[in-house]
């Protein structure tokens, strides 16, 4: 029997959504180890929304408080998490978020154990934690057995879908003493201008030659707006070369590699060099008038037909859905 420590995140005193995924992953491990899930969160005081951790399967939620923990404090957090982890856990789980990618290696180093980072699958076999993680830009999967104890693992965001597994979620607060550390986060400056980069956007809508002329990209921009600031507009090499769109928007081998949760290819035939830049998208939608276009071979969902009719209809439908 081993317990699992799930390391949660807060921002401005509220639990971050990605933490539910960590609790869900931890629950899966704890069940296989016949242990409990203890969720740990570093904060300056009470954190709102931690009750959701109990709903996702945490037996206990521990808030480690320190006056210097309002913002992420790399060294203070590391000390707090490592100290707790040393009290005897079979595994310590993080989200491979911006914070988790920074914190997990520090904690692992403090514990003197390996870190299996950014994993997409997690299991226990013969008492050992086995993880799968994408390597070589998603072109291969590495299956690894964690031989060190505790098994320190970070989970790729958006992979471990939160599952409701209500547990007691007993609440505990511990006060962290000492210094918050030499590295001090002053704050978070919001991303400028709202225009999302295609490489970062959770939804990418790309256009190709099928749009016929540069002005028609406004159809895609309208669709992007309908998604409420989560979508960016990309372009194929052909239209970038033709000067219709800036080079920074190009998706493909010589442009940007994107892996959004949703990629919508509009009027793009699907040359390999374009596919190379978007094939790791979670879900691919293709809209093209040519039913034989190679893009349909990689698309999860295809719509054959006139994009000049389909895209506005989609924009309208998405708009209704979002409101």
């Amino acid at each position: 029997m081993s317990h699992v420590l799930a390391v949660l995140e807060q921002r401005e005193g509220a639990l971050r959504k990605v933490s539910q995924e960590v609790v869900t992953g931890a629950r899966r491990l704890a069940d296989a180890m016949s242990g409990e899930v203890h969720a740990l969160i570093c904060a300056a005081g009470a954190v709102s929304g931690t009750d959701v951790a109990g709903r996702c399967g945490a037996d206990k939620v521990i808030t480690a408080t320190h006056a210097g923990f309002a913002q992420y404090a790399p060294e203070g957090y590391t000390r707090a998490v490592a100290e707790r982890a040393r009290s005897g856990y079979g595994a310590v789980l993080f989200a491979a978020s911006a914070q988790g990618k920074d914190l997990a290696p520090r904690v692992a180093a403090q514990l003197g154990v390996a870190l299996a980072a950014d994993v997409t699958d997690l299991a226990v076999e013969g008492g050992a934690v086995i993880v799968t993680r994408p390597v070589f830009a998603g072109k291969a999967l590495l299956k690894v057995k964690v031989t060190a104890t505790p098994a320190v693992v970070s989970l790729r965001p958006n992979v471990f879908t939160p599952v409701e597994r209500p547990k007691a979620g007993a609440v505990e607060t511990v006060t962290v003493s000492g210094d918050a550390g030499r590295v001090v986060v002053k704050g978070i400056k919001a991303a400028a201008g709202g225009a999302l980069d295609v490489a970062e956007a959770p939804i990418v809508i790309s256009g190709g030659r099928g749009l016929k002329e540069p002005a028609n990209f406004k159809l895609l921009e309208e669709l992007a707006r309908a998604f409420g600031g989560k979508a960016a507009v990309g372009a194929s090499r052909a239209v970038v070369d033709a000067g219709w769109r800036p080079h920074g928007d190009q998706v493909g081998q010589t442009g940007k590699t994107v892996s959004p949760s949703l990629y919508i290819a509009v009027g793009i035939s699907g040359a390999i060099q374009h596919l190379a830049g978007m094939r790791t998208a979670k879900v691919i939608v293709a809209i093209n008038k040519d039913k034989d276009a190679p893009i349909f071979k990689v698309a999860d969902y295809g719509v054959v037909g006139d994009l000049f009719e389909i895209v506005p209809a989609l924009t309208e439908a998405v708009g209704k859905l979002q409101s």
């Binding site: 290696p105 180093a109 072109k139 919001a190 991303a191 719509v303 989609l314």
Partner: protein, 250 residues
């Protein structure tokens, strides 16, 4: 300014990945190896910091196979002063092993800055830099996309979800750098000539035990055959339903 840059020799990301006969590693036949692109930003930053300071030394350190000497020469050709290869037949999957070897080399080095790329494009481990910092007991900021240094103190910006985190830290420090920090230079002809004469020490890497055992390297599952939802505008409601209920992306 005395700066160390820890670099890695990696398979080019354009490489088509073929699994070796052991089922656990990359088949290296026909694979091109390059200096990890994020490490190029680190080397460039080190060179610019040294140039700005007017004096100092830039030392590049790699942990890897003998062939990584080529990679070190690339960094020397860009302008680094000397190189160290911590040689090992293969780089272990456990980043902490590598961090231990690097820390053993870096400790007592008297460096003002120790720079890394934020991650390697082969293993996506994202961890050797901060682990090394912890082993050395040095302050560390990861994924630095903007950097100001003055009077023994640094201010950095790093990308987080929805914005840029502003961080302050004292020197000496370990930083891992992101793209956008600078524009790496190409090696100049004179740099390439000079690189041949720059010192490059080769010593065995003190890796220690690995806490990760590689079981298998496999190709990702084929994308399952997609389907044509329908034709024209009539297909839009069904498409939206599938995205919401089946794919769960909306």
């Amino acid at each position: 300014m005395k700066i160390a840059v820890c670099i890695k020799r990696v398979a080019d990301s354009e490489t088509r990945v073929k699994i070796a006969a052991d089922g656990k590693s990359l088949d290296e036949a026909g694979v091109k190896f390059i200096l990890n692109p994020y490490d190029e930003f680190a080397v460039e930053e080190a060179l610019q910091r040294k140039e700005k300071a007017g004096s100092g030394e830039v030392v590049v350190i790699a942990c890897g196979a003998a062939a990584a000497q080529e990679t070190i020469r690339t960094a020397l050709a860009m302008g680094a002063d000397r190189g160290v290869l911590l040689e090992t037949a293969s780089v272990p999957a456990d980043g902490l092993s590598v961090a231990r070897a690097l820390a053993a080399e870096l400790t007592d080095g008297g460096f003002d800055l120790i720079l890394f790329g934020k991650m390697a494009i082969d293993d996506y481990n994202h961890q050797v830099g901060p682990m090394t910092a912890e082993l050395l007991g040095m302050p560390c900021v990861t994924c630095v996309a903007h950097l100001d240094i003055a009077d023994g103190k640094g201010a950095a910006e790093r990308e987080v979800e929805g914005g840029m985190e502003e961080v302050e830290f004292p020197l000496p420090a370990v930083l891992t750098v992101d793209k956008g920090l600078n524009e790496p230079r190409y090696p100049a002809l004179k740099g390439i000539m000079a690189a041949k004469k720059k010192p490059l020490d080769v010593k065995p890497a003190a890796l220690g035990a690995s806490g990760l055992e590689v079981l298998a390297l496999t190709p990702p599952p084929e994308r399952k055959e997609g389907r044509i939802v329908g034709e024209g505008v009539a297909a839009v409601p069904e498409l939206l339903n599938l995205l919401r209920l089946e794919a769960k992306v909306l």
